[in-house]
C-alpha cells in the first residue's frame, strides 16, 4: 500500500483521469473530493465488506422459511410471471461444500 501525507487542499492524481482531493479535515473525519470517469466505480470499503458478509449469511436458506416469506408477500399480487426452462430437482448431495477462499494476510 502506498501511504502519503497530504494537506487540506492538496490532491493526488491516480492514473491519468482520477483525482482525489483533501477537501476538509474535521477531527478524525476526512472529507475527500473525487473526480473520476463514469466507468470507475467508487465504493466505500465497508460496503464491500457488508455485501460480502450478506452473501455469506444468506447462503442455503431453509425451504420452510421461503414458503412463510412468500405468504407475507401475497399483497403484491401477481406482478410477474416467469417462464423457466428448469424444473426443480432433488439437490445433488455429492457436491463439496462452498468455502470462501483463505484470507490473504494484510500487507
Amino acid at each position: 500500500m502506498l501511504v502519503l501525507t497530504r494537506k487540506v487542499g492538496e490532491f493526488l492524481l491516480l492514473g491519468e483521469e482520477i483525482e482525489v482531493r483533501i477537501v476538509r479535515v474535521d477531527g478524525d473525519q476526512v472529507r475527500l473530493g473525487i473526480v473520476a470517469p463514469r466507468s470507475v466505480s467508487i465504493v466505500r470499503g465497508e460496503l464491500l465488506e457488508d455485501i460480502r458478509k450478506e452473501t455469506q449469511d444468506a447462503a442455503a436458506p431453509a425451504k420452510a422459511d421461503v414458503a412463510k416469506l412468500a405468504l407475507k408477500m401475497q399483497h403484491l399480487g401477481k406482478r410477474r410471471s416467469y417462464v423457466a426452462p428448469n424444473a426443480p430437482e432433488a439437490p445433488d448431495k455429492n457436491k463439496p461444500p462452498a468455502e470462501p477462499p483463505p484470507e490473504k494476510p494484510a500487507t
Binding site: S41, T55, K78, R80, K95
Partner: protein, 144 residues
Amino acid sequence: MEGVLEAVSEATQLVLPSRLHLIGGLRPFTQAADFDLYVETDAPPFLRIEAVSVNLAYVLVEPMVVWSNYVPDFVATDLDEVGITPDQPPLVLAIVNLSKGPEQATANLAGPLLINPSTGKGKQVVLQNAMRYSCRQSLLAERL
C-alpha cells in the same frame, strides 16, 4: 447509464435463462460462478439459484417486483461486461437473506446481480447509487 426498467404494474412475463454464469462468482465464494436458476413455483415471487459444482444455494427476488421505486444506477463497465445494450433491459436480482427467519428477511439492494437475460451472463455489482439503498432492505417494507 441508468438501468432501463419499467415499473412492474401488471403481470408481465419474463423468460429466464436456465443457467447463470456470474463473473467473479459471489464474493466470498469466488469459485462458485455457475448456477442453475429455478422459479420457486410454490413461493412467488421468489427465485432460487443452486451452484453447479459446490453446495451453495440462494433465494433471489426481483427488487422491482416488490418496490416500484427501486431505480438502480449501474456502472457502465459492469453493463458492458455483462453485455447489456440499450435495447435490452437487464434482469436484476437481489439476494434474499433469511438467516434470521421470514419476519426479518432482507434483500441486498446495494449489491444486486446484474444479468443478461438472454445469455445468463451476470455479475454481482455495486450500484453507482449504492448509498441510496441498503444491503439489508426489509422485504416487508412496502416503500423504499
